[in-house]
């Protein structure tokens, strides 16, 4: 199996889907997307769980470009990202299909998978820069203003490209400038305060599904792991960590007072993704393992949460959180799933987020109890925000309608499948945590931030 460039197929499958969706009518486009995304998910899962290693690939064989590199860190991110795309597409049914950009989703998946299978800096910079385009095209197609998005993503691309270029220089000022530029690129892409406005703007103007797909794979954190962590001095890591922590607390407070459903979700996601960065930037084995575990749990739980919110939005229109909808009796499964995924994201027992949250708080408290208490504050506020949203959407009144609002078959498949993963990850967390810890140790050893493995274990 290793002799074939299987990992390289991961971006090619959705790219093939992208070209087909451009050629075929809209009705067929959904099927094509589901097939190519499903195949990508199946292949990614098979490759990662069978322990296959990346071979040089076609480009490696033809042009000598050894671009494909999948390690213990990026391995689990491949099925996770493919799953995010697949379930989002699967749950795109009914009239949502009219507003969703299938070709954009396929292009975005191809670029994201391409980024995840490489550790080549310039290739990554190219793909991450191209990755901002599908959303830009969608905003243009919807006739929305793109200025906020352009300004932020322009800054991101410029910082990324110049940062990458300067990092190849040898003089100290160039390297320092590179550090600053790459840090800014990470902060912009991750939506850290004060660079978070593009996310709010995007969630309000683009389709909900595309917005979820833009933020859920957390490519800012990936960029940080691949390009920033290896080169940055401790002061830069502390700067990102501090700003991420501030963003986590700020966004959790903002999530709690939001009146618009999408903005609420955007802040909730922002808060959690910032917590991921807090763990990563601690650059200790346990902190990094916590950040990586949180990455998986947030990716799964909050994508599911977003998908549920999107399904509800498809039935009642844009959700306002200053009123009660009382939808429980019409969609009890959706209500249970909404609560489950929301609670999973804030680390409730028996869900995938529980141990990740514990690990993060433990590692941060060990580092500094004061910072640990801020993480706890963010989690606490997020928990209240999640329950507030649940109560506003599903309770408080009796919703009368003549239209059946029960979840459709595809939505149910997505919901139940994700629920099982969230609960299974919560009941049996050891393999996931152990894998993330090993990845963290290997990464830090590679970056010479840790002594060799034997020495660590001896310690």
């Amino acid at each position: 199996m290793n002799s074939l460039p299987w990992f390289e197929l991961l971006p090619w499958l959705p790219l093939f889907g992208f070209f087909l969706t451009r050629l075929l009518p809209r009705v067929e486009a959904r099927k094509i997307c589901l097939w190519s995304s499903g195949l990508t998910l199946g292949l990614a899962t098979l490759l990662v769980f069978s322990g296959s290693s990346a071979s040089p690939g076609w480009m490696g064989s033809w042009w000598g470009w050894n671009l494909v590199h999948v390690d213990e860190f990026s391995g689990p991110l491949l099925p996770l990202t493919a799953l995010i795309y697949f379930v989002t597409l699967l749950a795109t049914v009914g009239h949502k299909t009219q507003h969703f950009s299938y070709s954009g989703a396929m292009l975005s998946e191809a670029l994201t998978m391409g980024t995840l299978i490489t550790d080549n800096a310039w290739w990554m910079i190219l793909l991450l820069s191209l990755g901002v385009l599908p959303m830009w095209f969608e905003l243009r197609a919807r006739g929305e203003s793109t200025r906020v998005y352009e300004l932020h993503q322009g800054l991101f691309v410029c910082c990324l490209v110049f940062g990458g270029w300067l990092s190849e220089r040898t003089s100290a000022p160039s390297l320092n400038a590179s550090v600053v530029l790459l840090t800014i690129a990470v902060l912009v892409r991750s939506g850290a305060f004060p660079f978070h406005l593009w996310r709010i703007d995007m969630f309000q103007k683009a389709s909900f599904g595309s917005s979820i797909l833009m933020v859920s794979p957390m490519m800012g954190a990936y960029l940080c792991m691949r390009l920033v962590l290896p080169t940055e001095p401790d002061w830069a890591l502390h700067a990102i960590s501090g700003l991420s922590l501030a963003t986590a607390v700020y966004a959790s407070g903002m999530a709690l007072v939001q009146l618009d459903g999408r903005r609420f979700f955007c802040y909730l996601f922002l808060s959690h993704s910032s917590l991921v960065l807090v763990g990563i930037e601690m650059a200790t084995p346990i902190g990094l393992a916590a950040g990586l575990s949180m990455w998986l749990s947030v990716g799964l739980a909050l994508t599911s949460y977003g998908i549920t919110l999107r399904c509800i939005e498809a039935r009642v229109g844009r959700i306002r959180l200053d009123r009660y909808y009382g939808l429980y009796s019409h969609m009890p499964t959706m209500a249970a799933f909404f609560l489950l995924t929301g609670l999973a994201s804030v680390g409730f027992p028996c869900t995938i987020g529980f141990i990740a949250g514990e690990l993060l708080t433990e590692s941060v408290v060990a580092y500094s109890p004061l910072i640990g208490s801020l993480v706890v504050v963010a989690t606490m506020l997020n928990g209240i925000a999640v329950m507030r949203a649940y109560f506003r959407i599903f309770t408080g009144t009796r919703h009368t309608t003549t239209i059946p609002m029960r979840s459709l078959f595809e939505e149910q498949v997505a919901i139940i499948g994700l629920s099982l993963l969230i609960v299974a990850g919560g009941i049996y967390p050891q393999p996931g945590v152990a894998s993330r810890y090993r990845a963290a140790v290997h990464l830090l050893e590679d970056l010479h931030r840790l002594p060799a493995e034997g020495a660590v274990h001896a310690h």
């Binding site: 709010i200 618009d260 209240i384 109560f391 309770t395 967390p429 810890y437």
Partner: protein, 454 residues
């Protein structure tokens, strides 16, 4: 695996199985009939209770003071000394609490089966009820601080959902959210305390933490400052969960739920969870006189305040709620004085009495009439002598203070919630203006921003 461990697995396992079955039937949209749900709930309680009774019998027979059911590490990173250890401890503190829980949950479950028959939320109620029982068992039997936190969280969620049980009305839902908010503060304080303790002692197991001595003996060997910090955090957690001052306002709000849940949760079991935490962590408090003074004072303030508030409430459930808080305040005072066994007996006695009172609450007037008919006259309705020593104006001031429940909720709203919401609304307005500026369409977007904020 010896007989005690098999029985111990039954104590925890049967309620967990009931929860899983009820949860899966809901998630997969395969609703069970009411009689099946009732049978599952009753069977889990009866089997769990029998197993707990069996353990008590064996321990009395053999003279053992503690037994442990060790499920091992839920998660472990050996090199970092990180482990999430699941362990259940059966000792002089946990066994009485578990037996009490099974009895009360069983009785009130049977009551609820009739009380809620035919109600649209019957399944939902019993699902939350099972979750509550599991959470409670995990919390009471926890042999490690992580297990206690696990149960603590489950109790919090089930409580909030049960308060909002009548979820087609706004008031129960708003009260449910309020209680959830208070619980999250308590959870946060508890989590921090647990992690700090873990770091300071290097242990998560209660037995090892307190020099391997069975409860209530032993002591924690950490420096005085750390003892203070952990002690205060645990006290905040306990205050949130048990409705001590300044969090007492949530208890009457919790009475929005159906009578069975009010009885079992806020009258009998849930309200004692904070006191139980203080009892379990008794060795921490016994090492610091200053901390014990703080615990005693908080209990005293709560007891006095709740005694006043309970006397002037206009509805029976609120009056009973504050009476419960008053008793919990006294229990906390006993803990502050180091009277561990007295506090334990007080909890058990109070839980049974209050459950009975809450279950009888809907028929209070009929009960009063029956009593008056029996004694052939009016029931006494006097007031303490010291009240007459106060001037009329002072009496009115205290009356208003008690009627308004010490203005505690109003104070929290105006000093904590309103500034919080105002601050973030201002931030939102600034963000909208900045976004408008970036967009180059200031008028239109700032108007839009205002609409969103409003």
């Amino acid at each position: 695996m010896n007989a005690v461990q098999i029985l111990a697995a039954g104590v925890v396992g049967f309620p967990v199985i009931a929860l899983v079955v009820l949860g899966l039937s809901g998630l997969l949209q395969r609703p069970l009939s009411e009689s099946t749900v009732d049978r599952i709930a009753k069977a889990s309680v009866a089997l769990g209770f029998s197993a707990a009774l069996g353990i008590l019998g064996i321990m009395l027979w053999t003279g053992e003071r503690a037994a442990v059911l060790d499920l091992g590490n839920f998660v472990e990173i050996g090199t970092e000394h990180f482990h999430f250890h699941m362990e259940f401890l059966f000792d002089r503190l946990s066994i009485p609490m578990v037996l009490m829980s099974f009895v009360l949950v069983g009785v009130i479950g049977s009551f609820a089966n009739i009380y809620l028959q035919g109600d649209a939320g019957y399944h939902r109620f019993f699902l939350s009820f099972s979750m509550f029982l599991v959470g409670l068992l995990f919390a009471f039997l926890a042999g490690t601080i992580e297990t206690l936190f696990f149960g603590w969280e489950l109790v919090g969620l089930s409580s909030a959902l049960l308060i909002a049980y009548f979820h087609e009305r706004k008031a129960p839902v708003e009260n449910g959210l309020w209680v959830w908010g208070v619980y999250r503060i308590a959870d946060g304080a508890f989590l921090l305390a647990a992690l700090l303790l873990h770091h300071l002692t290097g242990e998560g197991e209660f037995m090892r933490m307190v020099s391997a001595s069975p409860w209530p003996e032993g002591g924690l060997h950490i420096d005085p400052w750390s003892t203070w910090i952990v002690g205060i955090l645990l006290l905040i957690a306990a205050a949130g969960k048990s409705g001590l001052v300044p969090f007492s306002g949530w208890l009457p709000r919790a009475m929005e739920g159906p009578t069975p849940s009010s009885a079992v949760f806020y009258g009998a079991l849930s309200i004692h969870l904070g006191a139980y935490l203080l009892l379990r962590m008794g060795p921490l408090y016994s090492g610091s006189v200053g901390l014990r003074v703080v615990v005693f004072t908080l209990g005293l303030v709560t007891a006095v305040f709740a005694a006043m508030a309970s006397r002037v409430q206009s509805d029976v459930k609120s009056a009973l709620a504050f009476s419960s808080v008053c008793q919990v305040g006294i229990i906390v005072m006993e803990i502050g004085l180091g009277l561990w066994y007295l506090a334990l007996i007080h909890i058990i006695g109070h839980a049974f009495l209050r459950s009975l009172q809450l279950l009888r609450a809907p028929t209070l007037l009929r009960d009063y009439r029956a009593m008056e008919n029996a004694i052939g006259g009016r029931l006494a309705n006097g007031q303490p002598i010291w009240v007459n020593q106060l001037s009329a104006q002072r009496q009115m001031q205290w009356y208003r203070f008690a009627l308004e429940r010490g203005y505690l909720d109003t104070l929290i709203e105006s000093w904590v919630l309103s500034p919080f919401v105002r601050f973030f609304r201002i931030c939102e307005r600034i963000e909208n203006r900045w976004m408008s500026f970036l967009q180059g369409d200031s008028k239109k977007n700032s108007d839009e921003g205002k609409r969103v904020v409003e």
